[in-house]
């Protein structure tokens, strides 16, 4: 797979207080992979993607997206935050939240118009949420809220998608719907990076994986590196995950 490098992380170190959350991370993510970031709680998984996205300021290190710094490549990147990071009682509708995905391309002050609305409706359709477009967001189930977040990212029509635990607290139907959309994105040549918790589903869902526990343990194709050795190194206990072939 001699592919372009979509994301390159060099010597990234991040700390909130005294202890580093991420230590000296070097990472190259090739274009067109569907990658899981796995690791125990507090391993810095969310911190890693937040640092790549410029939400957090690293102490040292640099990030480049297709060879250029993030702030020049913003239009190529879409982000799906953790569902729990926002207040779902906010007075707005599902369609309105998805429309927010168009705000970045619009820039300051300009209002969304018919074109943006159409794009948002298409994204809602893709995630199967069109019938709920006028729903107040607090009246959506957890799975539906997650789909709305995904639709908001899809509207951005990016090349690289970052998702922070999209499967957390969603039902099986939604999980399958989401993973199918992610696989669809990969088929279109897009790069998808997912913070993931369920080790059992890694081989089934993803083709690329990064093991993270403050330091980077390993990164590469799932079929080559998703093994007990790396799992043990990452989680610190003797691990036996039966990789279903």
């Amino acid at each position: 797979m001699a592919k372009n490098i979509a994301i390159k992380v060099d010597d990234l170190t991040v700390a909130y207080n005294y202890k580093p959350v991420l230590w000296d991370i070097d990472l190259e993510i090739p274009e067109g992979v569907l990658m899981a970031i796995v690791g125990p709680n507090g391993a810095g998984k969310s911190t890693l993607i937040k640092s790549i996205l410029g939400i957090l300021k690293p102490i040292a290190g640099s990030v480049s997206i297709y060879g250029k710094p993030y702030h020049k490549q913003r239009h190529l990147v879409a982000y799906v935050p953790q569902k729990g990071s926002v207040d779902w009682d906010f007075p707005t509708t599902a369609l309105d939240v998805v429309m927010m995905g168009t705000y970045g391309a619009l820039g300051w002050i300009k209002r969304p118009g018919q074109k943006e609305k159409k794009a948002a409706l298409e994204a809602l359709e893709k995630v199967g949420m069109l019938p709920f477009k006028s729903r107040q967001i607090s009246q959506l189930s957890g799975g539906q809220q997650q789909r709305i977040f995904l639709a908001r990212a899809l509207v951005q029509n990016a090349s690289i998608y970052f998702m922070d635990e999209p499967f957390q607290g969603v039902d099986a139907t939604t999980e399958i719907a989401i993973i199918n959309i992610l696989k669809e994105l990969r088929k279109e040549g897009k790069t998808v990076i997912v913070v993931h918790h369920d080790l059992q589903t890694v081989p089934e869902y993803f083709d690329w994986v990064t093991f993270l526990n403050v330091k980077k343990i390993a990164t590469g194709p799932v079929k080559d590196i998703f093994n007990d050795d790396n799992l043990t190194k990452t989680y610190g206990i003797n691990f036996k995950v039966s990789v279903q072939e």
Partner: protein, 367 residues
């Protein structure tokens, strides 16, 4: 009370404008979960008033409010600084700055009062406000600030909404979150400072929060909420002024705040979707419906065993297995699900159909 009286009109218009602008900006404070911020800012403004008086020796409200603005802003940025630079939680930072600045302000006020100078009387009106001292110039100032605030709100509506809902995401889209944040906060400080003369340091935060909290109950749209909060705020101002003017010697500020509080209580109880009253009614109706369905399902189970579904059964049969009330039976009869003759009941075709679809319907409603 003469409502055509010029002074009264000036005060009523002033308090209405003040209520409107506070309602609008208060919506943002409430949605950002920064309700305490308004309280901290207004208390932080007090030393500014005292210092402005000590420096200039004048009681011109514009100059004193300028002092209030400066110390309000200083307080706000200290709060921001404490939250971002230390491990303290935001409520601690707010409480700290609030009491520290207020204490310092009170210290200065007592110091001023001890001075051998006749000019110092009346500074304490900024504690609880004194709407009667509003001049037409003050009202013009309020109107101008409100207009600017409205323009900024309309221009940056999209950005404000985005930041309020999801600030991390706002950052990834390339918007300068700090700028939007400072813009909102500055206007909140400005609105508070404008209200100090009328409502006072101590009660000012209620002007900010009450209309917004009331408005939230009636709508699920941000635009409508901000609009309603402005209306509620304006009406609180006018009603408060009318009530205090028609009752001798009632202080305007507290009356306005109490009227705003009435809006809140009314909204909490009577709002159709979020109000306590309708929630309770819906809850009770739900229970009743479930009871009916349960009884109907039980009848269905009995009727099913017969070839003729409308075969009559004795009411006693129900009594043996499950408690029912005459009311339940009557309600079922009214809905045409059953017919009752004497001590016997029988399912109708419609009742049979409804009962057989009960559970399917439920699972359909889920998604």
């Amino acid at each position: 009370m003469d409502f055509t009286d010029y002074t009264f009109q000036v005060i009523a218009i002033g308090t209405a404008i003040l209520g409107a602008v506070c309602g609008m900006l208060g919506s943002f404070a409430v949605l950002r979960k920064q309700s305490l911020l308004g309280d901290a800012i207004s208390h932080a403004a007090l030393p500014g008033i005292a210092i402005a008086f000590l420096i200039t020796g004048t009681k011109d409200s514009n100059i004193l409010l300028l002092g209030a603005l400066v110390s309000g802003l200083v307080g706000t940025f200290w709060i921001r600084g404490i939250i971002t630079k230390t491990h303290l939680k935001s409520d601690t930072a707010l409480g700290l700055i609030l009491s520290l600045f207020f204490g310092f302000g009170m210290l200065l006020l007592t110091f001023i009062q001890k001075q051998p100078n006749a000019n110092q009387a009346g500074l304490d009106k900024y504690l609880f406000g004194q709407a009667a001292t509003l001049l037409i110039e003050d009202v013009w100032l309020m109107a101008i600030v409100t207009c600017i605030c409205l323009i900024v709100l309309l221009l940056f509506w999209k950005e404000f909404k985005l930041l309020l809902f999801d600030s991390d995401y706002t950052k990834t889209l390339g918007f300068n979150v700090k700028f939007i944040d400072i813009l909102i906060t500055s206007f909140i400080v400005l609105a508070i400072v404008l209200g100090l003369q009328t409502v006072g340091v101590v009660l000012m935060s209620a002007m900010l929060l009450a209309p917004a909290a009331a408005a939230r109950q009636w709508t699920n749209s941000l635009g409508t909420m901000v609009f309603l909060a402005a209306i509620f705020g304006a009406f609180s101002g006018v009603f408060g002024t009318v009530i205090s003017a028609s009752q001798n010697n009632l202080s305007t500020g507290p009356v306005i705040v109490i009227v705003a509080g009435v809006f809140v209580i009314f909204s909490f109880i009577f709002s159709p979707s979020r109000g306590l009253l309708f929630k309770q009614i819906r809850f009770m109706k739900n229970r009743r419906d479930l009871e009916l369905h349960k009884t109907l399902a039980f009848m269905y189970g009995i009727a099913e065993t017969h070839q003729n579904i409308s075969h009559p059964h004795t009411i006693k049969l129900l009594n043996h297995f499950q408690g029912f009330t005459k009311k339940t039976l009557k309600a079922l009869e009214e809905k045409n699900y059953i017919t009752i003759s004497g001590t016997e009941w029988s399912l109708t075709q419609e009742g049979f159909k409804t009962a057989s679809n009960l559970y399917n319907q439920q699972s359909n409603n889920d998604e």
